[in-house]
């Protein structure tokens, strides 16, 4: 991809964010069961809070299977933009889409969203706590993450789950660690990005995007 093509690409993305600065989060049935909605369209919802994110967010729906009721709460703030109210009181299959939350994006989230279009995102293989491998941590401490070059096969992170430590080997494109999405020792859900890696030749473009969004976004 040439630099000019990337420029056009980012213009399009920036335009999309400007016309609709929201993220739409679909919520699906966590398992089979009878569903009962606890919110309606237009309801404002909050995500989890507290020092350990231990205070649950707004209650969205409850699902009952074999007399066991599970209440599902919101992970993010926003407004309920749609609810499949025809399913209320009915049995649903696991994975059935139930409602959508419209989450207003902050400038930082927009920058991250755009960056994630160009960075290679290395995701958490399991819900666990993560910390950098000793060698990588020492290089980050010395020179900062954006000076640390990694390539496939490098042992970059240790995953700690149930008192079992597992080295995690990098599998993406070679590049520098541009973004770190976790704090060492923090619990991360499966599939969430741990780091964003940028090929060295893409770095100037990435920097340009950040500068533009910062300058143009109110």
């Amino acid at each position: 991809m040439s630099s000019s093509n990337q420029e056009i690409h980012f213009d399009e993305i920036l335009g999309q964010y400007k016309s609709d600065p929201y993220n739409y989060l679909d919520m699906h049935a966590v398992h089979t069961g009878k569903v009962r909605f606890l919110v309606e369209e237009g309801t404002a919802v909050e995500g989890a809070s507290g020092e350990w994110m231990h205070k649950p967010g707004t209650r969205l729906y409850e699902i009952n299977r074999e007399r066991n009721t599970k209440v599902i709460t919101s992970k993010t703030n926003g407004t309920i933009s749609s609810v499949r109210s025809e399913l209320d009181g009915h049995f649903v299959e696991a994975g059935e889409k139930l409602l959508t939350i419209r989450h207003p994006l902050k400038k930082k989230e927009i920058i991250e969203g755009i960056l994630q279009e160009v960075l290679f995102l290395f995701e958490a293989p399991e819900r666990a706590r993560y910390y950098f491998a000793m060698d990588i941590q020492s290089r980050i401490d010395q020179k900062g993450a954006r000076s640390v070059f990694i390539q496939p096969g490098d042992e970059i992170i240790t995953m700690s789950l149930m008192k079992r430590d597992t080295p995690v080997y990098y599998t993406g494109e070679p590049g520098i660690i541009h973004s770190v999405y976790f704090t060492p020792g923090e619990s991360i859900d499966q599939g969430k990005p741990l780091i964003g890696v940028c090929a060295e030749e893409k770095l100037p473009v990435v920097q340009k995007v950040i500068t533009r969004v910062k300058a143009e976004w109110e």
Partner: protein, 317 residues
């Protein structure tokens, strides 16, 4: 070595299998059969896990793979370490071993491997008539003093084969502990006021490892047949057995990823969820579930750490 194998065989026939049908028992023992397939004994080693890694590499150079269930034993370890590079005190008289197990379980069951190992240790120790209990995840305690500890890591060979390395330390006949562990650790000899037969203890441990690791694999087979996961609320067989030995629920605990260096919060342990997570209730009544990290019991902490001072260099065994 022969003595260990003889004891292992004898203990297989004494395993507590009452909750399972004969066909299930047969399957469980078949799944766990490789435990102790090869046993290597050393008078002194730096670390048993390092020796296992060396064996993995040597086999790979020969175009082979290390046999599942290979066990390395040492009378004493001179350069051992636990989690977070804590010192691992392993003098003569204890049971110090590591075992390699291939990474062939689904992730949902791999995460229960440390539970399986804890259960095996606890069951082996309870055969001496001692009320040993498990503290989440797998510390074996007697009256809140640590008697055995477990270290699990997963490694990948240069050729890409993945193994779980399971390190086990049991205080057998060793009775002298470093100062910072006094009052926090105990041994079988101290508890029983007699010397124990170490090969017999090792044989019993290997028999229990065969059972609990086999049970974990059998549990996986059953879950696949049922088409349900712990996330969907399936109560696993291994975890049910582990819970019978665990005394964590109901305890006032302090939690931290590295509890000695950075305790995070205090709570009351309320339940173990079907995936093995520890659900705790905070002071404000809200709940939090953790899937990694470690806990100490608050009354244990009060006794161990006068004036709320943490030891600078804890020992994890």
């Amino acid at each position: 070595m022969q003595s260990i194998r003889t004891h292992q065989q004898a203990f297989i026939s004494q395993l507590d299998t009452h909750a399972f049908s004969p066909s299930a028992v047969e399957k469980i023992l078949a799944y766990g059969a490789p435990v102790g397939a090869m046993i290597e004994h050393h008078a002194r080693l730096d670390r048993c896990m390092d020796r296992l890694q060396q064996l993995i590499q040597e086999k790979e150079k020969q175009g082979q793979v290390l046999a599942a269930g290979t066990v390395v034993l040492a009378d004493t370890l001179i350069n051992s370490s636990g989690r977070f590079d804590r010192v691992w005190h392993a003098p003569k008289g204890g049971v110090w071993l590591a075992m390699a197990w291939p990474d062939i379980l689904l992730p949902e069951f791999t995460r229960l491997l440390p539970f399986a190992i804890g259960m095996a240790c606890c069951r082996a120790i309870r055969k001496y008539g001692i009320d040993a209990r498990l503290k989440w995840v797998n510390d074996v305690l007697i009256a809140e003093k640590k008697l055995a500890g477990i270290l699990c890591t997963t490694v990948q060979s240069l050729g890409g084969d993945r193994y779980h390395l399971i390190g086990i330390g049991i205080n057998g006949n060793n009775q002298i502990f470093p100062r910072e562990l006094e009052g926090r650790a105990t041994s079988l000899r101290s508890e029983l006021s007699r010397t124990i037969d170490l090969p017999k203890l090792i044989g019993s441990l290997l028999a229990e490892l065969r059972w609990s690791i086999g049970l974990l694999h059998y549990d996986e087979e059953q879950a696949l047949e049922e088409g349900e996961s712990c996330e969907q609320g399936r109560e696993g067989l291994l975890l049910a057995g582990w819970q019978e030995l665990c005394d964590t629920v109901g305890q006032q605990v302090e939690y931290g990823f590295d509890i000695q260096q950075k305790p995070l919060y205090q709570a009351v342990a309320r339940e173990i969820d079907p995936c093995g997570g520890l659900s705790m209730e905070l002071e404000d009544g809200s709940r939090i579930t953790e899937y990694s990290g470690e806990i100490i019991y608050i009354k244990q902490k009060r006794r161990d750490m006068p004036n709320n001072l943490s030891p600078k260099n804890g020992i994890n065994r």
